[in-house]
Amino acid sequence: MSRPAHGRPEYHKINKDLFVLTYGALVAQLCKDYEKDEDVNKYLDKMGYGIGTRLVEDFLARSCVGRCHSYSEITDIIAQVAFKMYLGITPSVTCNNSSRNEFSLILDKNPLVEFVEELPAGRSSLCYCNLLCGIIRGALEMVHLAADVTFLQDRLKGDSVTEIGITFLKKLDEKKYRRKK
């Protein structure tokens, strides 16, 4: 991938704006297509999943992360490496249970909603950023980890923070994917 054009710092901003504004236009289009919030949410998650399955390769190529040994490590990498790399933010991570398979990412800043003040009228159940949940889910599945990923809290809905919950489920059967030696 070529380096950004020299100098003009605003180009960097344009790239980020382009993604954020394209996403906004997509959500607007889906709201036109689907009356029910749940349907828009599902569609965003589905698209995110598709993106995640391909994004993970790009991520692994750029980040050179080593093998992880716990769900906790993986969640840390999602927050501190992946989010940082693609969105320029670092959500904080909390572990929600003693079995250590349920985690939360707390987003203090969220670039996706930079230009969104509030949810559109009549769309109070819209998970505006649901693409992110799908991306995480799709990416994890590509590395043989099944997980449920949903928004637990959302500032756009009036909550005090935006929180993404990741629940790691049973590890996908590795034997199926292990390459023959």
């Binding site: 344009i14 790239n15 394209t22 996403y23 589905k46 698209m47 790009d58 693609y86 969105l87 693409l131």
Partner: protein, 159 residues
């Protein structure tokens, strides 16, 4: 920065999903899909136009529009466009020999008929950005050989 990849992935997913919406395989279905993609691009372009640095004076001359197109291309695609010409009567042709948004598609004539789907969003984006800056325009694309493509922008100053 890697956010560029996010845009590319999102765009590819939009083409795959929104571009395949219509089950009608005939030209009517494809037209609707293209229209949806173009419309999404238009909306994004309008908003993007608001975000662009406005340190340049208002477009009075054609050269301003040319320069704007060039700058926008670099800002959006992180590369110079390979050719830009005008007939000096409001029509501009932007040529790019390897538009990044097309690169995910395989090279080869068999994918040529799918090419419009990959360009529709960008056509809308151009049209939307120009609209915010006061120009009504019609933007169309054509592909002779992937990955090279041309965008034709016919500009009319509005109001």
């Amino acid at each position: 920065m890697a956010v560029v990849m996010l845009f590319q992935f999102l765009h590819a997913e939009m083409v795959a999903e929104l571009g395949a919406r219509d089950t009608d395989p005939g030209p009517g279905g494809q037209k609707r899909s293209l229209s949806v993609l173009e419309g999404t691009g238009f909306r994004a372009g309008q908003a993007l136009g608001d975000r662009l640095p406005r340190d340049t004076p208002a477009f009075r001359e054609e050269l301003d529009v040319l320069k704007f197109c060039k700058d926008l291309w670099v800002a959006v695609f992180q590369k110079q466009m390979d050719g830009l010409c005008t007939n000096h009567q409001g029509t501009y042709v932007l040529q790019d020999n390897s538009v990044p948004l097309l690169i995910p598609t395989a090279l080869g004539l068999q994918y040529l008929e799918d090419a419009p789907k990959f360009l529709a969003f960008t056509c809308g984006l151009l049209r939307g950005t120009l609209r915010t800056l006061g120009f009504q325009s019609l933007v169309t694309s054509s592909v002779a050989t992937l990955p090279a493509c041309k965008f034709q922008v016919v500009v009319r100053k509005s109001g």
